[in-house]
């Protein structure tokens, strides 16, 4: 089922939680709403579900306007952040709930319901847990029960509110890969809310990055990561070094993008404009000797080895700005760096944004 969000605004008091948000989701897509807490992503999800009403704007599901439809008429499955399992019902009873509350005419037979519950528990790999109560399950298992329960009523749209938020790191990772595989199996349109960029990039077909009630960027995980549309998106999607400066005439653009500093900046805009440049730690190349004139000279301050990666903190000679570099262990061994040594760095890849003059 396709989704169309048309200029939706939602206020709580004077505070606009959603500010004229528009969005289109294709049938069968799995989309992540990504942003820091308070960016409005959960509110948008609840509006789609019909748990909240927008102040302005319209919502279309499969081309039909549903803005004023009640939640029960929308046929959406909603998976709550804290699962909201019925604590006094077994796993099987939880999954069957949506079927057993249907009006008598539509309700499947008891045997059919049981069969269906069995199928769903197989799908979420919890056949053995059918008779358990929620309090006897681990967090990951509860989450899968919540999913099975939502899928039981065959919704055309599945909405997940921070589905892995309450789980520990390892279970999270397993569960989100499982969710991706599940989605490839059942092909249901899905929207998932998360504040974890890794989760969004790994699970979703497309990512909607939100900030302070606005949509900052919509795109595939590669697009938003490689070509962020705004400084916020760039900073939110992983670690980044930030360089402030003023645009100057750039010499050899094609050759090697220089690293800017206070005096010597780069770029795309009009000369003299304020600019900010973002370089990810792993996009910085480090050499023991100068291999190019535009390389920046810096001193090694700290070296931190963490598993397969090595983090190095550099500081530039003149501005004392701290620069973080991420190296592979091999590259680090090759360079054989010690704290206090001088190195030369340049970016393989960078993002430059103009800063509007205020």
């Amino acid at each position: 089922m396709s989704i169309q969000v048309d200029h939706v605004t939602k206020r709580f008091g004077a505070f606009a939680v959603l500010n004229d948000v528009s969005l289109h989701v294709q049938d069968g897509e799995l989309v992540a709403l990504l942003g820091p807490s308070g960016c409005g992503k959960t509110t948008l999800l609840r509006i789609l579900a019909g748990l909240e009403r927008p102040d302005q704007g319209r919502i279309f599901l499969h081309g039909t306007e549903v803005t004023d439809r009640r939640i029960t008429e929308r046929r959406v499955g909603f998976v709550f952040q804290h699962y909201a399992l019925f604590r006094h019902m077994t796993v099987a009873e939880n999954v069957a709930f949506g079927l057993t509350v249907q009006p008598r005419v539509q309700r499947p037979s008891a045997a059919r319901i049981q069969e269906k519950v069995c199928e769903l528990l197989t799908l979420v790999q919890l056949q053995a847990m059918a008779g358990r109560y929620p309090s006897q399950l681990s967090g990951g298992q509860r989450q899968r029960v919540a999913l099975a329960r939502a899928l039981a009523v065959e919704p055309k749209l599945l909405l997940l509110d921070e589905p892995f938020g309450a789980l520990d790191a390892k279970v999270r990772k397993e569960l989100r890969r499982w969710l991706r595989r599940l989605h490839d199996e059942v092909h249901i349109t899905g929207i998932l809310v998360t504040h974890d960029q890794e989760e969004a990039l790994e699970v979703a077909d497309r990512v909607v990055v939100m900030h302070q009630g606005n949509v900052e960027q919509i795109g595939t995980p590669d697009e938003v990561y490689e070509r962020p549309a705004s400084p916020f998106v760039c900073q939110f999607l992983g670690d980044v070094n930030v360089f402030h400066g003023r645009a100057v005439q750039e010499r050899n653009v094609a050759d090697l993008p220089p690293l800017p500093d206070e005096k010597r900046v780069t770029t795309v805009g009009v000369v003299g404009e304020h600019e900010v440049t973002f370089v990810r730690p792993h996009d910085l190349e480090v050499h023991r000797s100068r291999t190019h004139p535009s390389q920046l000279e810096a001193t090694v301050r700290y070296v931190l080895t963490a598993g397969s990666r090595v983090w190095i903190e550099l500081s530039t000679q003149d501005s004392m700005q701290a620069i973080e570099v991420e190296l592979t262990k091999e590259r680090y061994r090759e360079l054989d760096l010690r704290e206090g040594e001088i190195v030369f760095v340049h970016p393989r890849h960078r993002q430059v944004f103009k800063i509007p003059q205020s």
Binding site: G77, R87, F97, L137
Partner: protein, 302 residues
Amino acid sequence: MNAVTIIADKDLQWKESLTTESVFVRRSLIAAAFLYLTLFLFIPLAAVFAEALKGGILAYVGSFLNEDALAAIRLTLLVASVVVPLNALFGVAAAWVIAKFDFVGKQILITLIDMPLAVSPVISGLIYVLLFGLQGWFGPWLADHDIKILFALPGIVLATIFVTVPFVVRELIPLMQSQGREEEEAAITLGASGWQMFTRVTLPNIKWSLLYGVILCNARAMGEFGAVSVVSGHIRGLTNTMPLHVEILYNEYNAVSAFAVASLLTLLAVVTLAVKAIVERKAHFPTIVADPISNVQTGSIR
């Protein structure tokens, strides 16, 4: 005594000395608590039954087998059977609206619900006398239409409702607030109607607290003395509830019968406290024992 126990004891003592008191202090405090509770709890509790059985088991049973006592028991049961369902219904409705919605004026509503707890029982009776008495607001009109509220069943019921209004709702609000709205929202998203949501999700979640609230409300309704005393008129065989009957017997120096009827009410109170203890245990351990297997699996996907 062997060496191992001594070492173990010392180890325990050393650990405990950080965050607990010496044995002497501990024993003294327990003794003080016991002494106080003996004076004010155990002795009175035992005395009720001792006094009731002073004249032997026949006299005890005989205390209930007369017209006045049976009439008092019947009236008390009748009053409770009207008051308790009404206050239970009110309790669920008020707890639902207070615990699950945010609205302007909620605090005022809660204060209003608590009001009867702050008011002296004598005043709880007095306000109904002022409303329905001959000089009251509705008194003349009621007299003209020959409707008796004061010194009759309706007055006793009204005063008892007033006094016991808070009991069910006060048990439910904290529980329903702590349970949040998500389970009910989930039921609605899964297509349940309001009634299905209530009977299949809300009610099972609150049933134990509701049960305790109802039983406490019942105990207080059956035992209310001050307010009922004001509105009942003490008409023997007609408007005497059990506590009023106890008073009359006692004032007639019929101590054995007074304590016999009192012992029934005391049993009711003890049962109420037992139910409370059970409900609290249920609340602490909501479902059966946790299964060790589920702890091992910790959500890994096979």
